[in-house]
Symmetry: C2
Subunit: 156 residues, 2 copies
DNA sequence: TATTGTTATACTCTATAACTATA
DNA sequence: TATAGTTATAGAGTATAACAATA
């Protein structure tokens, strides 16, 4: 059965669903991208109220879990260039979420450490992300989530 | 046993592996991002010799599979703004991979159609991507690839 | 009034290269 | 010579807003 709205859209050649994904649908990478984008959009929204973006959250949580990490080590952990880390660390330091401390014995490097406010914000973000993941993966059972996790790990 | 190189790195605090992923490792979204990035990097490399990027490839293959699609429809299919489509279509048209044809009865819109060269380049890209996927998913059996595909579809 | 395509503009993320100070 | 951090700059991708032509 074709609804009036469907017919109107079909007549105008204007339905989003009418576009054939074609060969794209046969690529597992296409499904991966769509799933990633779906999750990522909700992920962004779930962190927005805390003033965090993916890059700032990742950096903050790694610093919390690795006290006295250097900027170069952080760059490798985030898989970005050191020049990019400077901007993120500037931002986090400006918000007093982390501090740049001197390293005894190497005056080139900084030892990055989260402040109390930084640890608290990280914990709040983790809670927000747990709620986000529960929301986004609601259609999968515990077993299926574990299976997905395992398959993704095998790809990496 | 600790190798000389490992010891040197440990002494310098310089091993990439020494950074604790911490709570990040407990997020399925983190595994998804890493798997997506791994695949995406190889995907980019697999299209480079054809002069295609993800955006230009996606647009080209959708145009091939949907002759006479409009730019607005293409924008919805790619989930980007119409202004972005203009640039991609300009590029593909400049390389004579597609043509902008007039639509009888609506002088506002274009009907996009791939040229012979466009269809051939699309087919070559599909072959390159099939090789890329075989490479990237080599660690998974056919059944596991199907399982991954199904789980990703459920997330979308 | 609404839609199609277009232009101008800006923002985010990331990379490259050159620089300084230290090692 | 090599490394840690910094700065300046540029590129890709995308978004927003305003516009002309057409519906």
């Amino acid at each position: 059965m074709v609804s009036k709205a469907d017919k109107a859209r079909a007549d105008k050649g204007d339905s989003a669903g009418e576009v054939d994904p074609g060969v794209l649908a046969s690529f597992i990478g296409y499904a991966m991208k769509r799933a990633y984008m779906t999750i990522h959009t909700d992920f962004l929204a779930s962190l927005e109220h805390l003033g965090l973006r993916p890059g700032t959250f990742s950096a903050l949580t790694i610093i919390v879990d690795n006290p006295d990490i250097s900027q170069s080590q952080l760059a490798r952990a985030l898989a970005i260039e050191r020049s990019g880390v400077v901007l993120i660390v500037d931002h986090l330091e400006g918000r007093e979420l982390i501090g740049r401390h001197r390293v005894p014995g190497d005056r080139r490097a900084y030892a990055l450490r989260a402040t109390l406010a930084g640890r608290r914000l990280r914990d709040a973000a983790v809670e927000a992300i747990r709620r986000h993941e529960a929301r986004v993966l609601a259609s999968l059972s515990e077993e299926e989530q574990a299976a997905l996790r395992g398959l993704l790990a095998r790809v990496i």
